[in-house]
Symmetry: C2
Subunit: 405 residues, 2 copies
């Protein structure tokens, strides 16, 4: 065999993962991944799949029977939802204010559909009125697709009123919750969402490789009534449903056993903490981080009220050589943060506080590292203020928390 | 959250995996899965991707630059190859003699292509002459697709002469090596294969979830010259190539980090053993198993010379209640074997000896368990002969091995 093959043990260096995902993974999840395998039709494994379905329903806040983990990453979840719900010729409104809305529009086209983009500046949510106007102008519309948490901009999309609007125009409501699920409320049933997909490597703090996915009975009915089969066999949800359904269990493809072990444990950690406490933790750590960053001249890109707590997108002062700082953070401190994508390349940092990565210790460590680096480059004359600002925010937040009922 | 969520630790029962996959996973691979995560653009992780590419090239016996692990199971590998190489209106010859050839034909249709099936009885290879005749009759043909190791029948498809035949008719040669790779020779360059995909959970003995995949320069040229984009964005190989290529590393989707850790270690084990020794091990264990099974009245479905060493498909004597026996094997002995699919349901067993599962100890354990179960049902009067037959085969094989240079 080739002499290029690796002979040494692979021991990854220590990393504090504060980028746009993957996030840190709890040791219990890592341990679950290393359990011996079961067959994908073993009754004990089928029981584990049922447990995952129940836990995912709780996390998505839904009663949808079809609630599964798809055998691919978050982008596979996006493609599965679009390819199954959009048929050739279907018109679909899509909010485009970042990389992932753009990706949705591409997938609608590749499925033979007609994307109707509603654009907003990157970092700004899509106005609900614009959705209403487009639903009226372009009727009939098959679906409205919105990205709940735009990972490329840190913007939060309001969703509460969109489900009712879609129903009143007989359109399906599709939501990308790749980055939001497990870090802020995703109320699938309460918000009238018909299809919602996520990824495991963000606020669920499981390694990447699975896409949690839920489809309402209304959505499943649309899939079962398709005029032509979905172009993808691998992502055909009508076939996949027959494997996850406890009554049929028809073989479709071999499930990623080990990854599902990991997801079960990650969902158990979500359950132990509770969704509300988890959302509050994400919010506090984000506020403390932003308070610290602002003393360094780094301001959030989205307006107050539209910021994601798990993905803090901040603009950079002009004197900062952003790529050098990111390299120093990685090499000297073992901290990974994300740079900008597309038009925001070189202009922003994307700092993730997702799942296990959303920790007070990480906030302090990053702020201290930035103060040291900025000082070494003479961009900062008085270090210490950033960490102090974060501490002050925590003191205030914890006081508030103690006062809450 | 829901009270349905699981509270207990998940501890899988001990299983000897002798079905059609997943196979047993070496403890070193399980340990690799539990290493802490790196980011998917971390330089150390990109180095690991390069190592995987080099190891996969050695395993596929190819120099193809585009040799990667796709982020999905073996069926995703099948769909990626078909969806990228078959354009709407393309004719593709496909050998159909089992479940997986049938699946290929379905995927060709879903990609807008026209499948030209060449059928053989299940368990019998596709004759090369029939491929030649169809290439002449249906010219121009875009591709010929053959399943090297039909997991539903245990039949081995000869491939040596097909590459030259395809080239002489300007057709691409596509091979499904899901079950064969790592257990018998897959000589991509030597056999003139243009696209070959596999799965990790068979003879590579890694958990399911990745599809090793290689495409020749001729195949990549066909992909880059497509008239319309591939219907799948997630499986678009021209985009995926830009992430795996060491010069661009353009973000496409978040790679399944932990699974790639596991695959690296699994390929390292393949490398340490060597492909030839590994193939010989699979062959010996298969011969010993079949010798034992024949004393129980279980005969191989495929003819001699066309049998897969890693997937032993045997027909059942009429008195055997096959489902009861499989349940007893699983519940009382912790041994998983596979039943028949489609028209072979209830008529055959599929006994896998793949990768780490291909062990003398497993052969003896299964034969002994079958003798005990058959005796308890009064289907066997003289137990012990099956294990004896396997022992005799090993003694003979080891003698032969000692005599070899």
């Amino acid at each position: 065999m080739s002499t290029d093959a690796p002979y040494h043990d692979f021991v990854p260096p220590h990393r504090v993962l504060m980028g746009p995902g993957p996030s840190m993974v709890h040791p219990r999840v890592l341990q679950a991944l290393s359990q011996p395998l079961l067959g994908h039709l073993d009754p004990v494994f089928l029981g584990l799949m049922n447990e995952i379905q129940a836990s995912l329903r709780a996390t998505f806040q839904t009663q949808n029977e079809f609630t599964i983990a798809l055998s691919g990453t978050g982008s596979a979840g996006m493609e599965a939802v679009i390819a199954n719900l959009i048929e050739p010729g279907d018109r679909a409104i899509v909010g485009v204010n970042g990389v992932f809305g753009t990706r949705v529009a591409t997938m609608i086209e590749r499925s033979g559909g007609i994307p109707l983009p509603i654009e907003s500046p990157w970092g700004t949510p899509i106005p609900v009125e614009a959705l209403h106007d487009e639903l009226v102008r372009s009727a009939p519309v098959k679906a409205v697709v919105l990205v709940h948490a735009e990972t490329s901009t840190g913007a939060r999309q309001p969703l509460q009123d969109v489900g009712a609007l879609c129903r009143s125009h007989d359109a399906l409501f599709i939501v990308d919750a790749v980055t939001s699920l497990g870090g802020m409320p995703v109320d699938v049933d309460g918000w009238g969402i018909d299809a919602c997909y996520s990824g495991t490597q963000k606020c669920l703090s499981c390694p990447p490789g699975l896409a949690p996915l839920t489809v309402s009975p209304r959505g499943m009915s649309a899939i079962r009534k398709r005029r032509v089969p979905c172009h993808s066999w691998y992502l055909d949800l009508s076939l996949i449903a027959e494997y996850w359904n406890d009554h049929s269990r028809a073989y479709h493809h071999t499930a990623p056993i080990s990854m599902l072990y990991g997801l079960r444990e990650a969902l158990r950690l979500v359950h132990e903490e509770g969704l509300a406490a988890r959302a509050a933790r994400h919010q506090w750590n984000s506020e403390a981080l932003l308070a610290g960053l602002q003393t360094l001249g780094l301001a959030p890109l989205p307006q107050a009220g539209h910021r994601l707590p798990m993905l803090n997108c901040v603009t950079l002062p002009p004197q900062i050589d952003e790529n050098t700082v990111r390299q120093q953070l990685l090499q000297d401190y073992g901290i990974e943060i994300g740079g900008g994508l597309g038009p925001l390349r070189g202009r922003v940092w994307r700092i993730g506080l997702m799942g296990e990565s959303s920790q007070q210790a990480h906030v302090f460590t990053l702020l201290n590292a930035l103060e040291e680096i900025f000082t070494s480059h003479d961009w900062l004359s008085q270090p210490g203020l950033a960490v102090q600002a974060a501490v002050a925010t925590y003191t205030h937040s914890e006081g508030s928390a103690r006062r809450s009922p």
